[in-house]
Symmetry: C2
Subunit: 332 residues, 2 copies
């Protein structure tokens, strides 16, 4: 019987997440019952939304309880099956959580095709982050050719897809990212028109130079000071798909937003969203994203931590922007 390493929530973070907020345990996997399937996870996905699940504050999803398995998506391979719907060797995506093995009756497990695309992209640009970008930009942002789209966390799993989709729709794509290396990547590798380094200390002027015709769509992943700066430069009838507020996830005090008057002056539409509430769009989005990635029209980058025991540290780094592209944990 293999043992299953798991990462549990040990404590609710106060401010920044610490390693002691997690506990790593080894549990023995029970014998596979009839109808069950056992998956060995190859990659675990780390995503900013997980920070919210660690709190017990009201949010859009239930908190992880203390002592419970951290929640999260993973991709892996069926290693044993007593369920006729799954065969040994099948590749599957599921909300397995932070653990090496997932074992259940197959509910929520989705087969994925890894003949063309590498398995990890189903956690990134052809998975939840990609669909988040697709839905927020297309369904909320409703971009028109010639408009300027700004996206924060531009080198990340969501932001990188937002900008590349915006370009494909004839928009000017402007990223906001932390540091020259990420900004260079966003422009030179991903093909954005410009990228503003928010750490360079010149946010307002740099943003104005990058978006000289003003901002029509701001896809927000971070909130805080970047949001405040963008508000100053919105055009009339701008749209803000509000996807995340990572800059505030570990803050003990909320950033005081000052320029919200711009929401009225510019008759802005701001829409907070979570992509799992819009499942009806997933098939179309995944089809488009899959073919764009396979065709090389959407590029991506991954930060891969090795081994489940390094998941907490990788997660903490991601919340500070230390990752570069989609943050994964390689489990085998």
């Amino acid at each position: 019987m293999p043992t299953n390493k798991q990462v549990l929530l040990a404590a609710r973070p106060k401010g920044e997440v610490k390693e002691s907020d997690f506990r790593i345990v080894d549990v023995e996997l029970p014998t596979l019952a009839d109808g069950e399937v056992r998956v060995q996870n190859h990659f675990l996905s780390l995503d900013p939304y997980m920070r919210g699940r660690m709190d017990d504050a009201k949010s859009y999803a239930a908190s992880v309880k203390l002592g419970e398995l951290m929640t999260g998506g993973a991709v892996g391979e069926v290693v044993e099956s007593k369920n006729p719907k799954f065969a040994k060797g099948d590749r599957v995506l599921s909300m397995a959580g932070w653990q090496q093995y997932a074992q259940n009756d197959g509910r929520g497990m989705q087969k994925i095709d890894t003949r063309v695309l590498p398995i990890s992209v189903y956690l990134g640009c052809v998975g939840m982050p990609g669909v988040t970008a697709w839905y927020g930009l297309k369904q909320i942002g409703m971009p028109k050719s010639g408009e300027t789209v700004v996206v924060s966390a531009a080198s990340g799993a969501v932001g990188s897809v937002v900008g590349q989709l915006a370009k494909s729709l004839g928009c000017r794509a402007v990223g906001v990212a932390g540091g020259k290396e990420k900004c260079d990547y966003v422009v030179k590798e991903l093909g954005f028109d410009a990228c503003v380094d928010y750490k360079a200390g010149n946010l307002d002027a740099d943003l104005m130079a990058a978006a000289p015709s003003g901002i029509d769509i701001y896809f927000d992943n971070v909130g805080g000071a970047v949001l405040d700066a963008v508000l100053r430069q919105l055009n009339a009838f701008a749209r803000i798909p509000l996807c995340g507020l990572i800059s505030g996830y570990s803050a003990t005090e909320a950033y005081p937003l000052r320029n919200y008057r711009a929401l009225l002056v510019n008759r802005v539409n701001l829409q907070g969203f979570i992509v799992s509430e819009h499942m009806e769009f997933w098939p179309q989005a995944l089809q488009e994203l899959g073919s764009a990635v396979a065709g090389g029209r959407i590029k991506y980058r991954e930060s891969v931590a090795q081994g489940l025991e390094n998941a907490p540290k990788a997660f903490m780094g991601m919340l500070k922007g230390e990752n570069f592209g989609k943050q994964l944990v390689k489990l085998v």
Copy 2:
């Protein structure tokens, strides 16, 4: 030839508006040319949006230039006409500005029917403020029976209509207003379910008591601390028609909004709007509002200043909430 008293913009306000920001002049009306019509205004409308026109900051409408007539709607009576479309005695609504007489080729003058409704309501609940309430609540708020609607500046021209419409649609209507007298009026006269006195110093708790099932729609006229408090108590999928931010119009420094995280957590839709950009809804809105007012289903109250020379003071008072209901200036 009658003289025409006018109120001009003399200076751009710094912080709170002062009387010296206005200049009152008497000008001689030119002889009526062929095709022209002369209207003696009976009532001038004072509205919060005019504060924005006094600044030269970017806003949704052009600023009033220094030395120019203050902008504003008025209702009056045709006293002389050389235009076949208007006869002496016709009652008209127009963007006459802050002056006793309006004289032009009839462009923008709209005949109104004062057989059933008093002339002043065309500046209030059967005019721009009423349509603002109707559009923001119905087209953006999209209220469903049983939902809780909160509106700030609840005893004002817009807020009072929002709450009464919300009640007629089966919603719980909760007002926010300044002082016991206004709150009593909102509940006892207008029929709101509850009204929170934001000056009572207990905003969070009072709001929670008034909206025990949370807030589904927040029709915002004021921004600032009331908005921040409401954000804390939004329900999932709440809507915020953002109509005005009067609490900040005279502030030299913006109120620091802290609870905007609620916009994401609750997947809120916030929409800034200005009703003059949605003219396609005015006929239906005015028809519904007119019949509701005529039938006594929408009640209203007016604060009436006497004489054009008192318009600046009345306007300054309105920005501080000293008015009670629709602020008008009676000119004859």
